[in-house]
C-alpha cells in the first residue's frame, strides 16, 4: 500500500507538469490561430536581426540547433535546443515562454509574435 502511494506521489506531479514537445507546438499553433511553418521557422532561426549582442538565434545556439551552444557573453555552455538530442527541451510551456520573451528581445529587439513562436518551434522539432 505504501509503495502504491509513493508511486502515485511520483506519478501525479510529473504527469501534471510535463508537456511533450508536440503538445507545446500544438498550444503555440492554437495561440497563433494558424498552422506553423517549418520553413519560416528556419528563416527566423538563421535570420540576422538588430540585436546588439546577439544578431541571430544561431549566435548562441550555433547554426545547428542540435549542437551544444555557448552564451555569447559569458561563454557558458548551452545544452542543445533540439528535443531530438536533448529531451529536456520544449517540455515546460512556462520555460518556453520565458526564453521567447528574453531572447526575442535580445535578438529582435521586440517580442516575437505567436506565429513566430509556433514557426520557430516547428522548425526545431523538425530536426531529427
Amino acid at each position: 500500500m505504501n509503495k502504491l502511494l509513493c508511486l502515485l506521489c511520483l506519478a501525479v506531479p510529473l504527469d501534471a507538469m510535463a508537456d511533450s514537445p508536440t503538445q507545446i507546438l500544438a498550444q503555440l499553433q492554437a495561440s497563433a490561430g494558424t498552422s506553423a511553418s517549418v520553413e519560416r521557422g528556419r528563416q527566423l532561426y538563421h535570420g540576422k536581426f538588430t540585436g546588439e549582442k546577439a544578431e541571430s538565434c544561431a549566435t548562441c545556439h550555433t547554426p545547428n540547433p542540435k549542437d551544444v551552444g555557448r552564451h555569447v557573453r559569458t561563454n557558458k555552455v548551452i545544452d542543445p535546443l533540439a528535443p531530438s538530442v536533448n529531451a529536456a527541451r520544449f517540455t515546460d510551456m512556462a520555460k518556453v515562454e520565458k526564453w521567447f520573451k528574453r531572447n526575442c528581445n535580445e535578438v529582435l529587439n521586440r517580442a516575437c509574435t505567436a506565429q513566430e513562436k509556433a514557426d520557430f518551434t516547428a522548425y526545431i522539432l523538425s530536426l531529427k
Partner: protein, 168 residues
C-alpha cells in the same frame, strides 16, 4: 601549576590548515542556495556562483537590478527574486556562514563599495594569479566568469584543485 599558554604547535597547524596551499585549495565545499531554482535560473547564462564570493549588499544590488543585469534583462517574478535573494543573503561572504579564507581576502573591499563581479574580488585575483592570459582566451573558457569551464562541479560549490580540468 599548569601553564595557561596554549601550545604553539596546534595553533600553527590550524593556521596552516586555514591557509590556501600554494595557489590554493580550500578543501571545503562552498555553500550554495538550497533552492534548485538558483542554478536553473541564474545558471542558464553563467556559472551559478557560490554566495560566499560576494557580500550581502552586492547580492541585494544584483538581485534588485536584474532588469539591467550586465546589459541584459534577467528579471524574475518578484516572489521568486525575493526567495533567491534571501537564500543568497544568508550565505553571503560577510555573514557567519561565509567561508573564512575567502571572506578574509574579500574583506579588503571597502564597505562603501558594492562590487558586482566575482572576478573582480581580491580572492579571485589571488587564486588565479598563475593562470596565463592565453588560457582565458581559449574557446571553451572565453570569460573569467565561466568558472564551470575549468571547475566542472562549480555549481555544487566544488572548486577543489584536484578537480580542475582546463579545456584545451
Amino acid at each position: 601549576m599548569l601553564s595557561q599558554r596554549p601550545s604553539p604547535v596546534p595553533i600553527l597547524f590550524m593556521v596552516l590548515c586555514a591557509m590556501p596551499a600554494s595557489a590554493g585549495d580550500l578543501n571545503v565545499v562552498l555553500p550554495m542556495p538550497e533552492s534548485k531554482r538558483y542554478v536553473s535560473e541564474c545558471g542558464s547564462c553563467h556559472t551559478a556562483y557560490s554566495p560566499t564570493y560576494l557580500p550581502a549588499r552586492s547580492w541585494r544590488k544584483l538581485m534588485l537590478e536584474l532588469d539591467r543585469h550586465f546589459g541584459e534583462d534577467a528579471s524574475l517574478p518578484q516572489m521568486e527574486r525575493d526567495q533567491l535573494l534571501a537564500q543568497l543573503e544568508v550565505l553571503a561572504g560577510d555573514t557567519p556562514r561565509a567561508v573564512p579564507a575567502i571572506a578574509a581576502r574579500n574583506a579588503r573591499v571597502a564597505v562603501t563599495e558594492t562590487p558586482v563581479r566575482v572576478t573582480e574580488m581580491p580572492f579571485f585575483a589571488f587564486m588565479h594569479d598563475e593562470v596565463p592570459a592565453a588560457i582565458w582566451r581559449r574557446a571553451k573558457v572565453g570569460s573569467k566568469g565561466n568558472c564551470i569551464a575549468c571547475h566542472p562541479r562549480a555549481e555544487e560549490g566544488r572548486y577543489f584543485e584536484r578537480e580542475i580540468q582546463i579545456p584545451k
